[in-house]
Assembly symmetry: C2
Homo-oligomer: 304 residues x 2
Amino acid sequence: MRLKVLGSAAGGGFPQWNCGCVNCVRVRERNPSAESRTQTQVAITIGDGFWFLLNASPDLRQQILATPELAPIAGERGSPISGVVLTSADVDAVVGLLHLREFHPLRVYSTSGVRRILTETNSMFRALDRSNPPVQWCCLPLGKEVHLNGDSGLACTAVPLAGTYPDYVNEPLRGTLPPGEATIGLVVACHGKKVFFAPALPGETMTWKAQAATSDLALLDGTFWSNDELVAIRGGGKSAREMGHPPLSGGGGLLEELRWETRPRKVAIHINNTNPILDEDSAEHREMRDAGWEIARDGMEFVL
Amino acid sequence: MRLKVLGSAAGGGFPQWNCGCVNCVRVRERNPSAESRTQTQVAITIGDGFWFLLNASPDLRQQILATPELAPIAGERGSPISGVVLTSADVDAVVGLLHLREFHPLRVYSTSGVRRILTETNSMFRALDRSNPPVQWCCLPLGKEVHLNGDSGLACTAVPLAGTYPDYVNEPLRGTLPPGEATIGLVVACHGKKVFFAPALPGETMTWKAQAATSDLALLDGTFWSNDELVAIRGGGKSAREMGHPPLSGGGGLLEELRWETRPRKVAIHINNTNPILDEDSAEHREMRDAGWEIARDGMEFVL
């Protein structure tokens, strides 16, 4: 398996278009201690020329163009991208599907709850039906291994992580959606190797810890460093945990929870612009590295 | 007035993510005769520090970051962008609104038909309601001058251009939308100067020709060179005119229609990846220049 990180920031990216915080200013000024990051996007292949996208970020067009492996063959219309797997209906996880509207047949995998949000209350995604055959929406059942495209060699399992559907989802649809399908993690397995991808970890520790601990590579929710990070900056609003993102630091944070796990290569991804680990000179960045974590960057690659 | 072209390509951009045509290959290979282009996006200001966006392209985050004038003040959360004016509900004209979801109050101007498509059948745009105050949807009446933000100094008039609502719009909404509001051109005026922006020209010649001829600057539909451009490549599908884009060349094409108009500075924008004018060495590119046209590029700037 080969996995490429095409984007590593949380919603809005780094810098955020309307943010003048210390981190965002640093990256705008091209300070070498801060690297710009597009919104979280992962691509995975077994090396047969076909790629699957994990989520579809709003920066997807830019991310595909920055990745020569994802270019079409000269003289042909087409793409090595043959499917997309979604972990939620969050704007930063799904909008990129609209970048893929140029008449290319695809399979889109998600829970039924996420699919219903996109197909029943967001007509714009019908633009994907123009391809021949139209984009195929495939259901990811919870906890059951599914072979992507039937025979791609990549087995994918949806790990239910609880959480809630995005705020934009309105009634009456909201009331009819299966509560356990709002946010999932993905276990992608091939030839005995296992990747766990979970850019949001809203649920109980035991579910995701078990998945992380038995994986070779875990790309995990690195959105916030501390629980009150956004509250402190905005003077109000939701805590990190209330937004479905346990912080990296502190009691019950990711660093503490995975302190004794040696097996997975641990990578923090989906990093918010406010997170101090984005400053490579910061104490928090050093603390992550000392705890054995890597901090995802755009273009990072893993071979398993 | 100062106007910046942040993006100049048609839907999908140049290159398109899944296209291996001669033009797209040329730009991927960094051939100097072909310059990459993001999807059509214009920003306009009277020089008071506030900017208005004409449409909201799917590449908007990347386009804002590439434009230092649109950066927030260091240390503050905010943006010089104070409003967006939409010409249609096409995916490539509106998806960028979702890039602007980070809690920033904005006014969005459109016809009532376009607003209803976004707010009634695409719940994702509710993400814009999180700002305080929430994004304000303002109605652009046809043919009537509206002062953007009430007192910005920019007067904007919606020019009805006929056309049809995008294919993704489904019933029953489609049947209830005002037929004349699907596609508009925008006249933006200040201190006696006039810009006409019309990235699609589906309607009768007389409407848009009159607007172009009385403008100082006209940014016009340069999507296709010839009427059968896409049909020839794809072996089927709609002609340029059937897609709401009269070709540049041939009888009734833009070059012929505006051949005797000397007043507006004529700029072709919303250029499709298949259009031969994108190759600066081509005969078609030369023909455009000889006819007095400019070909929009990302970063191009106009002062009136």
